[in-house]
């Protein structure tokens, strides 16, 4: 069972209160982009076994979108933060480095 703290209403939300929104921090490719980049934006997802950044919506609660950093293998949650964030906040990155010292790279993939 997964419980995420919604950063908007502050509630501990059971997974059954949430709607999943897929990988977070994707960069939208607009009308001027290359076909390959646009295809990748639409379809290619990292789907890691391990640390992952995901969008979730507190569908049965306050209704807001937020982002969660968690481990897909152990369900350990490193933190949640506002959806209006283009990359993971430093405190989340620090928490992940502390818990997963061997992991390279600070963000998404």
């Amino acid at each position: 069972m997964l419980i995420l703290n919604c950063p908007y209403c502050g509630e501990s939300a059971d997974e059954t209160e949430l709607a999943p929104g897929g990988e977070a921090h994707l960069r939208r490719e607009g009308p001027e982009s290359q076909d390959e980049a646009f295809e990748s934006y639409l379809f290619h997802r990292s789907n890691p076994k391990g640390v992952h950044f995901e969008r979730w919506r507190h569908a049965f609660g306050c209704g807001k979108w937020f982002i969660a950093a968690r481990c897909t293998a152990t369900l350990e949650v490193f933190g949640t933060y506002a959806a209006q964030t283009s990359c993971p906040p430093q405190e989340i990155v620090d928490k992940i480095s502390e818990r997963r010292p061997d992991r390279r790279g600070a963000s998404g993939s």
Partner: protein, 173 residues
Amino acid sequence: MRKRQFDGGIARIEDVEGYGMVSLRVSAETALRRARPQRGQACWEGETTTLWMSPDELLFLCPRAEVAGLLRDLAQDLAGVHHLAADVSSARALFDVRGRNALEVMAKLMPIDLSPQKFSPGRVRRSRIGQVAAAIWMQQDGALRVICFRSVADYVWDLMVDAARPGTEVGAF
């Protein structure tokens, strides 16, 4: 609709009719000329209950006859401020659940912490009951109030009555 009442189980449940409801969407920073509840809380002013629904959403419950006046006041207070105030009185059904096991009855149906240490008067929580969205709060007298969309009110009623059947105490709290 006929007002339903369930008694004789481990909690008393009844329909509450005659309430008006006004939904207000306005930024969290906007000052209102009325009490604004803290995050996750309800507050009371006269006969009006105000529920915190999300950072930019409040729900007012008041006697139905006062809805027009409330909308007029909000329009006046928020003139020039981006907001949306709507009469949603018919959207939701309201229930009263009370008795020593009221929290336990609702805890059977909702994925939230309803232990008495955590859930006290003034607390509001939006979540789900069974398969549908619902909100619950505790009145100042310790009774619980539950709202859900009117289209699923019979479903919620049946679930609550089933969870309050005689002899179904769990003793979790």
